[in-house]
């Protein structure tokens, strides 16, 4: 691979790199997985936004509209046994899933970044403590614990926020360990030594030198956390442990199941949330795979 060096004093042309936007689009063309993931996610966001413009959120709750109606022009996604407008329910449900996902994701990532940095940069005792805690908590069967906790809560206390919290509780260890190992590598790099020689303080090094280089990893960890959160809230809700009043996608399926929706011919009721969930999780998974290719230059197919 040739190194592109710069022109001599006489030549007037300076090599211009094309604009950032063009580079981004070209990159997306090469990294198709990331492109697909982002595209589907964008569509889902669009659906939610448009949804909120056309429906009345109150219709997402029981006894709002005539029951058990199949999809039609008036009710594009049909209605369910309890009298919920499915379009409204899906819209509100997607929004709530997003809230849980982002909240839990951000919280998990934040804890991971803070603990990971502290452990790696300050080392020794702090590092040992944090690492040991992570290593003890990791093998704990998450599903089991989540189910136990969720089912022991009073039904009225279960809101989407408690869901988010339950989900985060056992999810923060992985980003902590990943960020920690990245910081460990990075702090040995020579630009950190040079920063020290330039008089930068420890915190300066953490925030200004190391952290910016970890943004791809932090982004990947964030998407990973969002994925786990969305997935966890989904299966907890499917098991009937979610905030039952809310039209969370998992709840809808649980409700449909409990009323024997398939046997009664109300196929649209469980299918719609299922498809939505597959699209959400799928697009997040694709984004994770795409980011992996971005953050790890050796996996990159181009160049």
């Amino acid at each position: 691979m040739t190194t592109v060096a710069f022109p001599t004093a006489e030549s007037e042309d300076i090599v211009r790199q094309p604009s950032q936007a063009v580079l981004l689009l070209r990159y997306l063309r090469r990294n198709k997985i990331l492109a697909i993931g982002l595209a589907v996610l964008l569509l889902l966001v669009l659906f939610t936004v448009v949804g909120f413009l056309v429906i009345n959120p109150r219709d997402a709750y029981p006894l709002s509209v005539p029951t058990k109606k199949p999809p039609s022009w008036q009710y594009p996604l049909g209605t369910d046994f309890f009298g919920r407008n499915m379009l409204a329910a899906m819209t509100v449900g997607m929004w709530q899933t997003a809230v849980i996902g982002i909240l839990a994701g951000a919280l998990g990532t934040f804890i991971g970044v803070v603990l990971g940095f502290v452990a790696a940069y300050f080392g020794k005792g702090l590092d040992n403590t944090i690492r040991t805690i992570c290593q003890i908590l990791t093998p704990i069967p998450v599903l089991l614990i989540q189910v136990v906790i969720a089912s022991s809560l009073d039904k009225r206390d279960v809101t989407i926020f408690t869901m988010a919290f339950i989900v985060v509780m056992l999810a923060w260890m992985w980003p902590t360990l990943v960020i920690r190992s990245q910081v460990l590598t990075m702090k040995e790099r020579q630009f950190v030594s040079v920063a020290k020689l330039s008089g930068v303080s420890d915190f300066g090094i953490i925030f200004k030198e190391i952290l910016p280089n970890l943004l791809p990893f932090i982004a990947a960890a964030f998407v990973g956390q969002v994925f786990s959160a969305v997935f966890a809230s989904f299966y907890l809700a499917v098991l009937g442990l979610g905030p039952l009043r809310e039209p969370l996608l998992g709840n809808i399926i649980w409700a449909a199941q409990s009323q024997g929706a398939f046997f009664n011919g109300w196929w649209w009721w469980p299918i719609e949330p299922a498809v939505a969930m597959i699209l959400i999780l799928g697009s997040l998974a694709f984004i994770i795979m795409g980011l992996d290719e971005l953050a790890n230059p050796r996996v990159r197919k181009s160049e």
Partner: protein
């Protein structure tokens, strides 16, 4: 005459293993004094494992000595407090070997120059900072407009290393540790970079410790030289004398292996002896590869004075007067 730098019997030992500890002596009983009024260029030469990198890390305060003291302008560097520490940082700088590794890939190359300007308050305004950066870049033969605002991967290795040297120019330290500054740079650019370093010493009074394994460039740029092998001084003195007339078998091997760009000067007159016996920790470290090894070499040879400004640690010269390690600096001309 105040001393800029004093190393007093500095040793660095690494312990490995929890149960059966194995000690590696990276640097053994090393003493050196640099004078504040006589800026000089001193070469510390050796292969990998010789201790030269350890010495650099010690001088820059990244690691602390196991024994001995490092005194910078009268103060022990491991005991510096806040403001003094910042002054020390400002006055002792480095140019490293790898032109790419010193840049933070997230930022443009300006970052390398702007951060120390800010931290050491070298400029009172953004314009003044920019001016200083441009001046330093021009001094190393770069056009600021070609270089500022670019990312490190957009520039060539030679340009990056020049920016590194520009950083040193900008900071005008009192002591510059140059750790293999030209070994990863094209041969055609080496001359320019070495000349810049020499100008730093001559015109700006910067003392430079030039660390390398390349005796050719050492010969050209420095006045005095210390040859290290496995943490101990093998030979030291005026660079002309040591390279043109090496006395220690190790130095002779080094000089003999230099690939001179001269068809009449062939390398390889002395065959390379493969290491036989493993050197015990008590004897001469070169014993395993030395064609002249004798029984007495199982004890550590002291420094012997060969001639003024030339000393070697080898029992071949045991008839000559001995030199205490603390007096090493007397052999090094400025």
């Amino acid at each position: 005459m105040a001393n800029l730098l004093e190393l007093k019997n500095v040793s660095k030992v690494y312990q490995r293993g929890l149960i059966s500890t194995q000690a590696t002596v990276a640097l053994r009983d090393f003493s050196l004094t640099l004078n504040e009024d006589e800026p000089t260029i001193l070469t510390v030469a050796g292969e990998s494992g010789s201790g030269k990198t350890t010495l650099a890390m010690l001088l820059l305060g990244f690691i602390s000595p196991t024994m001995g003291e490092i005194i910078y302008r009268g103060k022990n560097i491991s005991r510096l407090g806040g403001r003094e520490r910042l002054t020390y940082r400002r006055e002792v700088q480095a140019v490293f070997q790898d032109p790419f590794a010193v840049f933070n890939p997230f930022y443009t190359v300006d970052h390398l120059l702007s951060v120390p300007i800010k931290r050491f308050r070298l400029a009172k305004s953004k314009t003044e900072a920019r001016d200083k950066m441009e001046e330093a870049l021009r001094a190393v033969g770069l056009r600021p407009e070609d270089v500022l605002g670019r990312f490190p991967h957009q520039l060539s290795g030679g340009q990056r290393q020049r920016i590194n040297v520009a950083r040193a120019l900008l900071l005008k330290p009192r002591l510059l540790i140059a750790d293999e500054p030209v070994s990863m740079v094209d041969a055609s650019l080496r001359a320019t970079i070495l000349e810049t370093l020499r100008n730093l010493q001559r015109d700006h009074g910067v003392s430079i410790i030039y660390i390398t394994h390349d005796l050719t460039t050492a010969f050209h740029i420095s006045k005095s030289i210390v040859v290290l092998y496995r943490g101990s001084v093998m030979e030291a003195g005026d660079v002309d004398r040591v390279i043109k007339n090496p006395q220690h078998p190790y130095t002779q091997l080094l000089v003999d292996s230099i690939p001179w760009p001269n068809l009449e000067q062939r390398w390889g007159a002395q065959p390379i002896k493969v290491r036989e016996a493993v050197a015990g920790s008590e004897g001469c470290p070169f014993i395993g590869r030395c064609p002249h090894a004798m029984d007495i070499c199982k004890t550590r040879p002291p420094l012997f004075e060969i001639e003024p400004h030339h000393t070697a640690a080898c029992f071949l010269y045991d008839k000559r007067p001995q030199l205490a390690p603390e007096k090493l600096s007397e052999v090094l001309p400025v």
